[in-house]
Subunit: 552 residues, 2 copies
């Protein structure tokens, strides 16, 4: 296992994917280097993947949006003969800790959702053209695409063999997308998911598992036709020229990670990471062209990338830090000015992509299984987009007034138009709508404050923070909360937070992270799957798994 899993990569370092962009079409080829696994102890045979392969995929989906905005269709194919993708590597899963399995599944699910978001929100459609076997996570990758073409050659199949082979679920969205996206009849879905050998040809079409079954002789033509269909509508960003996602600025030193706009301070004894966001130093540019020229250095984009990286790092590499404390420093007026700039330029492709990226980063925070708390203190800049972090938190505390000897201005919080629908959670509601699900009139009251700097008593009255404390109580209250939180069972907190954060409607996305993931995590704990005689451990040994016959 590497000392640290790095979620940053770039095209020159890809080992498993090849991307060829030509005009509005990108060809994305999965050609896994079987010796390129992230951990020791397994080979990535048959185009199977591990987290390292998926980190590259996530990077590609992201770069396609920012570096290649003119791309309108991505054709996903295999670079191997006779196999499209065998899914998540089983030896990797069998050898991984419970925490790694869970984090692996979460990240791969987020990546699949990102593909769907690129299709829906950025007009980059995904076409999956399958020759050979697409099994398990291989088929789940196809399920995230808009259109699936399966070669009708007597060999190519789609399959979800997890249950019969491994006693686990197709957990990268498979079960949910089969019923809720492909809308396969439930008994056929049951048949499909209990079938090692999968389904091919006309039957795969009839069962709604794929869109087309096409003989090899007509395969390329069918792909071309579908590419044409998927790009038939009017171009939404005709003049877009990409920007380069240059490497983020990041240094690790002891228990501090310093980014350009963010610092992570780790307190191991208290099992806590404090993320301090730095607001912008300068006012936003005046024109969209200036934003384009700033590129990856443009503050909102730079911060989003750094925050995303910090969250992913903490999730995978720091499992014992149970609480994430968000702080900020800077000028809230400048932060709000950036929000206003993005909002005013939301027809410009790059502004739109940055807003969409923030939506995804905030969702990543919502789905992070750590206790999240925001401290709104003197000198902080929780305005608009940054205030969303407070609304994504399990609790938020605000200091009323100042602390002795601190000459920074008292804390304020400010709302902008972006707090009202621009960053929906995975339940489809804004964070304020979710927060005020029992009192929708409070959303309106909050909206009426746009443009005002809200002090602690305003925020308390409007219900925007959990508690406001004055100087006398602040330190004790915060300390007691943090100590108490750290004393609870992390598993209990994970389950509780996964329930309390998502009031109201459910979507395919929340079903994947709620119902499907929670059941999968349960199964990952059960001896039938993960025990010494379980199916994950016994797979490939020639010895059949031994199952406890009890149903619970």
């Amino acid at each position: 296992m590497p000392a640290r899993i790095d979620f940053q990569t770039e095209p020159s370092r890809y080992r498993h994917w090849k991307l060829k962009v030509s005009g509005s079409r990108a060809d994305l080829i999965l050609d896994v280097d079987e010796n390129g696994g992230l951990f020791e102890g397994y080979q990535l045979k048959l185009n199977s993947y591990d987290l390292g392969v998926d980190i590259e995929l996530a990077d590609i989906v992201q770069r396609l949006r920012f570096e290649h905005p003119q791309v309108r269709v991505v054709v996903l194919q295999s670079g191997k003969d006779r196999v499209f993708c065998a899914g998540a590597n089983i030896r990797m899963l069998a050898g991984a800790t419970h925490a790694h399995k869970v984090n692996f599944c979460k990240f791969t699910n987020e990546t699949r959702n990102t593909i769907e978001d690129a299709s829906e929100a950025s007009g980059q459609k995904y076409l999956c053209a399958i020759k050979g076997t697409a099994a398990g996570g291989g088929y789940e990758m196809a399920l995230a695409c808009d259109h699936i073409i399966l070669a009708d050659d007597g060999n190519s199949t789609v399959a979800l063999p997890e249950l019969p082979l491994l006693a686990v679920l197709p957990g990268t969205g498979g079960l949910t997308r089969v019923t809720d996206k492909r809308k396969v009849r439930r008994d056929l879905a049951d048949a499909f998911c209990t079938m090692e050998e999968g389904v091919r040809g006309a039957r795969a079409v009839k069962w709604r598992l794929v869109d087309q079954s096409v003989p090899n002789s007509k395969f390329e033509a069918a792909v071309g036709q579908t590419v044409a269909q998927l790009t038939a509508g009017p171009e939404t960003k005709p003049d877009a020229t990409g920007i380069a996602l240059t490497p983020i600025s990041r240094t690790f030193e002891g228990d501090t990670i310093a980014y350009s706009s963010l610092q992570v301070d780790i307190d191991r004894e208290s099992r806590r990471a404090t993320l301090t966001i730095r607001g912008p130093d300068t006012a936003p540019p005046e024109t969209a062209d200036q934003m384009q020229a700033a590129g990856a250095g443009f503050w909102p984009l730079r911060l989003a990338r750094e925050l995303d990286d910090a969250i992913l790092h903490l999730r995978s590499n720091e499992p014992e830090l149970g609480t994430i404390v968000f702080k900020s420093s800077g000028d809230p007026v400048k932060v709000a000015a950036y929000d206003a700039f993005l909002d005013a330029n939301d027809t410009y492709w790059l502004a739109r992509e940055i807003l969409l990226y923030w939506k995804r980063v905030l969702k990543r925070i919502d789905l992070t299984s750590r206790s999240l708390v925001t401290m709104i203190e003197p000198g902080s800049c929780f305005a608009g987009t940054l205030a969303e972090i407070a609304f994504a938190s399990d609790r938020s505390f605000m200091l009323d007034g100042t602390l002795k000897g601190d000459n920074r201005p008292p804390a304020t919080l400010a709302l902008t138009a972006l707090n009202f629908g621009r960053y929906p959670m995975s339940n489809g509601l804004s964070r304020l709508e979710t927060r005020f699900i029992g009192e929708p009139e409070s959303v309106g009251a909050a909206r009426d404050t746009i443009g005002s700097a809200l002090d602690a008593s305003d925020c308390d009255r409007l219900g925007l923070v959990t508690s406001a404390f004055d100087e006398v109580d602040w330190e004790d209250e915060v300390r007691i909360f943090l100590e108490e939180r750290a004393s609870f069972s992390g598993d209990g907190l994970t389950g509780m937070e996964a329930n309390l954060r998502f009031a109201g409607p459910e979507t395919m996305e929340t079903k994947i992270f709620g119902r499907l993931t929670a059941w999968q995590n349960w199964i990952f704990q059960r001896p039938n799957a993960a025990g010494a005689e379980g199916a994950l451990k016994r797979y490939g040994t020639g010895v059949k798994a031994s199952f406890d016959p009890e149903r619970v």
Copy 2:
């Protein structure tokens, strides 16, 4: 542990509840007999409960609907001083097997849902009047009610202390109802659920945890006022006179359980139970009065009660029977005639209650974590309501033609009006709408067949069965399916079925059984809760639980 948990009871055997009915008001008093636990090894102190207490509650809710239809409001109170209810008994939970914990939670959740169904569908409102502590499952019982009054006496509190005390979730709907029914703000919900001591008085009202906080001097008056409000609307069943839910007919003999309209045959070697439903011997009555006179002997009601009991018995007492096979024998025309009778008399209270009960029984089947398969064979009577069982199954197989030497008529399946909305699943859709979620036009095609006897080829064409086999293939196909199913991991099947059965929308009910229950089951497997040093085991020992600090 008793040799067999019996889900049948009756008022004369209640040990934990007192019910007093007077006109349209019922007073329901929880007064747990601490020596009346279902298992050895714990005492039910502080009005805490185990499955036995909940079996009585379920019986009461059911009898109120059938035996006391004139009741319009049920006032739930405690019979003990200073404590309303301490929730599920912790020593019971600590000592229970994983399977028992899961089944216990499922049944108690179903009972809470039944309370809400009685309120919504039968006009029997529940008012919870709390004096003393309502903690954990005690408060969750209150959450299932329409209105909560909390005494403002400096002592009475509501609390969900599961997480801080036991490292588990408030799993009897608590987390879901706090966010989705009471619509408590999420950070306040987080504060509430991490607080051992709970919340009282005006703060409980402000946080939306209760509806009223009332001093003792005005408590009875407030209860009376709310009773008056809850019964203010027009009476919906003014002339209803209850029927007696007489004991069901049931004998256990070896591996057979014989009911009057149902037989359960257990094949232990194959780990399978076959439930054979017997259709009615006679035509339905001509008038509603005749149905009323038949009372609990009326075939649809009798079968519903027997089927409900059989399912509950298999769930709790036969955990190793992984597959339930549904069969039937009888005249499908008569079955359809009963459906027509119920449909035509649906303004008569008893017909409506029977339809509502079938809705609940079918939901109980949906939520049963066994593989469900229906065999539609010659001589069977899967029509209308009984056809729902086939649609609730993971697979259905139909014999096309007859078997050699069998002179019964070839199998048919028939639909009635009741298949189209009368029995919604917990996702709010009918089983046919869920089945055909990808092709809604198929629901219309199915509806057009009402009144026809559909043979195997019709059913295959209409998509109403998974597969139809002729005499040549039938035995082999069925045998192979059943053998293969029994070879899979039961845990994997449980997770898979819990995902595939519920396509489409989610409701508070599906959230409870999906998101909340799945996370709770995961936590029940984790050492932090259930291990030797976990919080459940250590509770009350004076030694603090030892937690693995890792978050997953």
